[in-house]
Symmetry: C2
Subunit: 219 residues, 2 copies
């Protein structure tokens, strides 16, 4: 399968020219971020909260303490949706209606289950950490069994998804191009600044390579 099949759940209704169902493109958008907005129903109302995630193939991993009301509620329902957004530019047009943003967003739908097995749990947390910062897991203190016990790990299997991408310039009304109004893009990007050592860190501990690599990639 190279593309998610379209159903009434994932079909993009507005701006279909921006719709993407290609699995590889969707995974690229997921891998460019690590915070997703997870939606759930509480007391009949839809709420969404940001959560960090990891991805491996068609699985998304979330974790929290064992008492987290969102994950417990998702497990009860057995399914979830999650949305990830990257904002790429402000699009400043000559008229109000054509103002827009360039962005890449993905909405996933799928089933969820609790990861019970200790080895699978650790593998899921490894995936989660590698997704956030490649190479870090192998250099930190290993998880203790009681820490693993206190952690709730949820695995989502992506069943369907769609993405929307806008990555073009300004589109104005034909008669507006001659107006003496500046139009263009302001590119936006989430960037990393220089790492700041913990004040309790011993002075002889150097910045590790995985942190330097992360910084160089995101600065």
């Amino acid at each position: 399968m190279k593309e998610y099949s379209k159903s009434k759940l994932n079909r993009v209704k507005r701006g279909q020219n921006r719709a993407v169902y290609d699995i590889e493109k969707i995974n690229t958008i997921l891998d460019a971020g690590f915070i997703g907005f997870v939606s759930y129903i509480y007391d009949g109302k839809a709420i969404s909260l940001p959560m960090a995630y990891g991805r491996k193939d068609n699985k998304i991993y979330l974790h929290s303490s064992q008492a987290n009301r969102i994950l417990l509620s998702l497990l009860e329902v057995g399914e979830m949706s999650m949305t990830v957004l990257h904002l790429d530019a402000l699009v400043l047009a000559r008229s109000g209606l054509h103002h827009s943003v360039n962005y890449r967003s993905v909405t996933l739908f799928g089933s969820v289950k609790k990861v019970e097995n200790t080895q699978e749990k650790e593998a899921a947390l490894y995936c989660f950490m590698e997704h956030m910062m490649k190479g870090r897991w192998d250099e930190i203190r290993a998880m203790k069994p009681e820490e693993l016990d206190r952690t709730l790990v949820v695995e989502m299997t992506i069943e369907t998804a769609s993405a929307k991408i806008r990555d073009v310039g300004v589109n104005d009304e034909p008669e507006d191009y001659d107006l003496p109004i500046w139009a263009g893009l302001i590119p936006l990007k989430q960037v990393a600044f220089s790492p700041v050592s913990d004040e309790k860190l011993s002075k002889d501990i150097q910045l590790p390579n995985h942190v330097i690599e992360y910084y160089n990639k995101h600065k």
Copy 2:
């Protein structure tokens, strides 16, 4: 009223030491962004999608074409929730469990209504545009009556809200501080890059002050 009263809807359940109900602090977080995740229920499932917003006092303004399924569904239900997040740092600890992020997030709950009156509609769109980029509305081509007609404007009245803020350093287990593991923060920020003029822009049109001010504030 200086603080939103706590109910089962907005009370922060996990990490109560990070909870904020102060209205001014919540407004500051809202005004630092312009994209919110609006949640709605579709076919029994909770979904959230990113939308641009403006704020004035306790009102949030959203707009779309008249056929947008999210806004129409919110209007049918008469209420909505919206979440805004700013990611401020990766928090890299000595053990996996203490990895975290610094962030400011707000979740709003309130009633929604359609803005019907043309003058109120224009005022809402002005608020929306000023929120995204101060000073731009006055320099672009005025909205035409038929453009206003084609635009659906929704006003949310914030009824309750809560914020969560994490803005501290690394918290590790007491016995882990002596481990030879680098720990610290990597600050993250969404920044603006140099404005890129529309390729169809006449060469004698200069960058306007409102764009220069935006860029200087966000670069």
